[in-house]
């Protein structure tokens, strides 16, 4: 539970650091991209702290490259 609080506190701190400056300068689109990234990151962090299954992109890369890698290893050995 405290992990989620920590993540939210960090997110709020990051908002506190960046958002006032962005709003003052009127950088709308920048604010959107920033918010999306932060929302995604916070969501990922909370999902991780709840031990929800997060897909591992390395698994996909391995799935794609394993046949080639195995064939190459057999060929070289």
């Amino acid at each position: 539970m405290w992990q989620i609080f920590g993540i939210l506190a960090a997110a709020i701190a990051i908002i506190g650091i960046e958002v006032p400056r962005l709003r003052r300068k009127g950088l709308e689109k920048e604010l959107w991209v920033f918010s999306l990234l932060l929302f995604f990151g916070t969501g990922l962090g909370i999902a991780k702290s709840l031990n929800l299954p997060i897909p591992n992109p390395l698994d996909w890369i391995i799935a794609v490259y394993k046949p080639t890698s195995d064939a190459l290893t057999r060929f070289l050995e």
Partner: protein, 373 residues
């Protein structure tokens, strides 16, 4: 980027060196020894030779678009939307992945090496806080910081190698080429894939050096010096520790530092030597996070990139934890998958851009007629 940040060629060379040494200095001796055994040092030389062969491609791209970064000429060459999509794939598939792996590396290193009872998340967050702040300050301060820290890194590296030199045992390097040239080449390609094919991300910084010619020379120098340092560390690790210890440890150069013993008096100064690894990995991460932030900003046509560094670091922390479930998974990935995967973005992507640039007559040759690009 709309605001032109300028860095000197010298700073670019230093950043390249720090980027190349990065986390590789920790793990490369072990990865090389796993394949090439006692000939790891030959593999390191061969790898630097092979790695240098890719640099003309990067420089050719950089010179073709002297005032544009990789993200910008991706859009010019491939067209606006295809360029943006291709670059986004590159960004997620290469710098972002490398950053997450590097972060994981320093986390593993510090938790296994000295801070054994500290949760890895804490270390990652502390490192990333510094990295995010560096990127928030911008490219010029990063370059200046690199210039300031670089002499200390070199001095400590020199001292490290000097202090362990009494333990050099050339018999650890024998028998020479025991199993022929094949294992050496296999080892060499490990080092080529990590980190010698990675300077492609530096093409995001390349245009910030005012003169492309100097930037090209800086890239050559940086990769060469970085590669030579990796070679020296590999040579010393294998000849001091012996190939079995190097193979068996994840971080052999740290074991090397533990060997330091000056007159039975000055011992266990590896924590001091840790400065080397922390600084090089810090700059590697900072450069990567800069590249991702600036690349994203360019892709979405933002006026600034600095505010993206903090949220990016939040994502990076989680990804560094997610992508490596355990160390044997990482080892298998590093040895089997990464050496193939890296060619996608390290070689084929810039090669494709370069050829497409020539075919579609984009860049410097056409620049005079078509200034707006």
């Amino acid at each position: 980027m709309l605001d032109r940040e300028r860095i000197a060629a010298r700073q670019f060379a230093i950043m390249t060196i720090l980027y190349i040494i990065g986390s590789a200095i920790l793990v490369i001796p072990s990865l090389l020894a796993a394949k090439a055994k006692q000939d790891a040092w030959i593999a390191a030389i061969a790898a630097v030779g092979i790695g240098m062969a890719f640099i003309p491609l990067y420089i050719a791209l950089g010179k073709r678009f002297p005032d544009k970064n990789l993200a910008q000429y991706c859009e010019i060459i491939l067209g606006k939307w295809l360029g943006k999509i291709a670059f986004l794939c590159f960004l997620i598939g290469f710098p972002f992945l490398i950053a997450a792996l590097t972060l994981r590396n320093i986390g593993d290193f510090l938790t296994i090496g000295i801070l054994t009872r500290t949760p890895i998340q804490v270390i990652m967050i502390i490192v990333l806080a510094a990295v995010a702040w560096g990127v928030k300050l911008g490219l010029e301060p990063i370059a200046r910081a690199a210039e300031i820290f670089f002499p200390f890194v070199i001095l400590l590296l020199f001292l490290l190698l000097l202090f362990v030199s009494p333990y050099l045992q050339l018999k650890n390097l024998e028998p020479f080429l025991e199993n022929g040239i094949a294992p050496v080449l296999k080892g060499a390609f490990t080092l080529v894939s990590y980190p010698l094919l990675e300077p492609v991300v530096l093409l995001m910084i390349f245009p910030h050096v005012p003169k492309p010619k100097e930037a090209g020379q800086a890239l050559w120098r940086g990769v060469l010096i970085g590669g030579m340092i990796l070679f020296a560390v590999t040579l010393f690790s294998v000849s001091v520790l012996g190939v079995d210890i190097v193979k068996g440890h994840s971080f052999p150069s740290f074991e090397l530092a533990k060997k330091i013993n000056i007159g039975d008096f000055l011992q266990r100064i590896e924590a001091l030597m840790m400065f080397i690894w922390i600084i090089t990995i810090f700059f590697r991460l900072t450069i990567l996070v800069y590249v991702i932030s600036a690349g994203l900003a360019q892709t979405f046509n933002l006026k600034d990139y600095r505010m993206l560094s903090l949220p990016l670091c939040v994502i990076l922390t989680v990804m560094a934890l997610v992508i490596v479930p355990n160390s044997s998974y990482l080892l298998a990935f590093n040895q089997k998958i990464w050496p193939l995967y890296v060619y996608n973005f390290g070689l084929f992507f810039p090669l494709l851009l370069w050829i497409a640039g020539i075919v579609r007559r984009k860049g410097k040759c056409a620049a005079r007629k078509d200034e707006t690009g």
